[in-house]
Amino acid sequence: MSVLGNKKSKASSEVPTSSMADIAFLLLIFFLVTTTFPKDKGLAIVLPEPGEEAQVSQKNILHLLIQSSGVVVVKRGESQQEQQMRPQEIEGLWRQEVTSNPNLIAAVKTDPDAPYKFMVDVLDALHSANAERISLQVLEN
């Protein structure tokens, strides 16, 4: 009847060390793979070379005049007709305009007192519409 009392536990009291290397290497490789270095994001533009001034026909220019209130006034080439827009609407406008005139250039003219974010909003919209020919200027009154 004392069989149960005599039975010794077969479980080892030591931590198994043979798989420790595997665990450590697994951790090592996991951290190596998941470590990412943060990269900046932004809207890339290409500035003109100093002294380089291109003459562009007025009919190939789409004027986007950013007012200090954030309203964008759109003027097409030579016509004096003005149209007020929100920056978010520029993307659709550009897609329409560029299909009728592939040589179109966006002339973004910002009011000197306008916050930078409005210019970024318009630039963002133009980038979303895959516009590549963009000119950044200051709005002169």
Binding site: T17, S18, M20, A21, I23, A24, F25, L27, L28, F31, L32, T35, F37, P38, K39, D40, K41, G42, L43, A44, I45, V46, L47, P48, E49, P50, I66, Q88, T110, D111, P112, D113, A114, P115, Y116, K117, F118, M119, V120, D121, L123, D124, H127, S128, L136, Q137, V138
Partner: protein, 149 residues
């Protein structure tokens, strides 16, 4: 007199197995070494509020070829963590640009509320320095946020 097997049968006492008991120590040592030596290169952050853009793309250039120019709300210009005036920007950037063999990308980090006149002055300074590639650094805007504005 002849030795059996030409004397080659004497087995070496050295074990042919790689000792695996110290493998864990080596692995943990490597792990800790990489953890300690990994430095996340960061500039001191200037207190700016980022502009947001939806179509922002990652800057496709090596970290050492990116020059950060911070633009604070009141028009303060910081290049490489050093305060500069707008007039100095051309003279500071031009030699750095030449040293990088014209591969330098300028990352302009402007506060979203900075008046555009300062941005234009900075762009003029960069054009005078001969810089061609400029990125307006922004944070990625979520579509949901855009709907709400």
């Amino acid at each position: 007199m002849s030795i059996k097997g030409g004397g080659f049968e004497k087995s070496s006492k050295a074990s042919s197995e790689i000792p695996s008991s110290s493998m864990a120590d080596i692995a943990f040592l490597l792990l800790i070494f990489f953890m300690v030596t990994t430095v996340f290169q960061r500039d001191r952050d200037r207190p700016i509020e980022w502009a947001e853009a939806e179509s922002a793309q990652k800057i496709d250039e090596k970290q050492k070829n990116i020059l950060n120019i911070w633009m604070e709300r009141e028009g303060g210009v910081y290049i490489n963590d050093q305060p500069h005036t707008m007039e100095q920007a051309t003279t500071v950037v031009a030699p750095l640009y030449a040293a990088s063999e014209r591969a330098l990308v300028i990352s302009v980090r402007g506060d979203r509320e900075v008046p555009y006149r300062y941005m234009d002055q900075l762009q003029t300074a960069l054009v005078n320095a001969g810089v061609v590639r400029v990125v307006f650094a922004t944070q990625l805007e979520q579509s949901m946020q855009r709907e709400r504005r």
